[in-house]
Symmetry: C2
Subunit: 152 residues, 2 copies
């Protein structure tokens, strides 16, 4: 049960964006994080569609976060890159299990899945940022509240 490489790349890229006070373009992220450029492009699209980052096209285009890092949960990134969780195929659509209704195992699996989801929800991007060891050298707050337009 490994996490997809897409998720790993997505997280790294988002951390990258969160650590930069300016928007970054694809090439910059790809190079810094050593991610295949074309593949990263595909991933960034899903992050854009998912509303985690906003993109500007054109010559000076690039990406930036749409929320402060503290409000982006690992679960969101997870659900964008991989689908909704579904530990087992029988969970969710409510019918693919041959044992059907009276299956005594299904509720337990659901419980496990919820716990796993909780594990991912409990982590926020902010916790993954590199610790700033400088005592506030000037680039002080970065991404804390300047983008709090989205308080959903």
């Amino acid at each position: 049960m490994q996490v997809s490489r897409s998720l790993e790349y997505a997280v790294r890229s988002l951390v990258c964006l969160a650590s930069s006070r300016r928007p970054m373009d694809l090439g910059a992220i790809a190079e810094k994080e050593r991610i295949p450029r074309a593949y990263l492009a595909k991933i960034m699209r899903t992050l854009v569609r998912g509303g985690l980052v906003s993109s500007t096209q054109g010559r000076t285009g690039g990406y930036r976060l749409r929320k402060p890092a503290g409000r982006i949960r690992l679960l969101e990134i997870y659900m964008l890159t991989e689908g909704p969780s579904k530990l087992l195929p029988c969970i969710g659509d409510g019918g693919s299990c041959s044992a059907s209704a009276s299956c005594s195992q299904k509720p337990v699996w659901i419980k496990v899945e919820q716990a796993v989801n909780e594990a991912f929800r409990n982590v926020t991007l902010k916790e993954m940022l590199p610790k700033k060891t400088n005592g506030g050298k000037g680039a002080g707050k970065r991404f804390e509240d300047p983008l709090s337009q989205e308080r959903g």
Copy 2:
């Protein structure tokens, strides 16, 4: 992030064994759970090696649990069928990550992985058994303590 079919089959088979007061042979389990016989054979081997079930060979051979269902945790089955968890390849061997030592994300991933493991550890086979609706018709205790020789 789905769980392997092997794990699903393993769980179903163990539930099957736990629900039966007598040992069951491969064919019986395979038929009842509708699992491909040869594939199940492979899975049962790993369960035997892992010490969850004991097998007797020969003509009247079969399988039985080695511990009461209440003492078999989902995590054990998980670790037998799939390897040790490892959400990301960089976790565990301590070096495959290009960001090496100062990686600020690794500890967070480790934390997530521990939570996931906990989710699997928190479930015991017993919780997956079908609820006995009979008020103690005779086959009362089944697998509760008759096998408590192994109290590790």
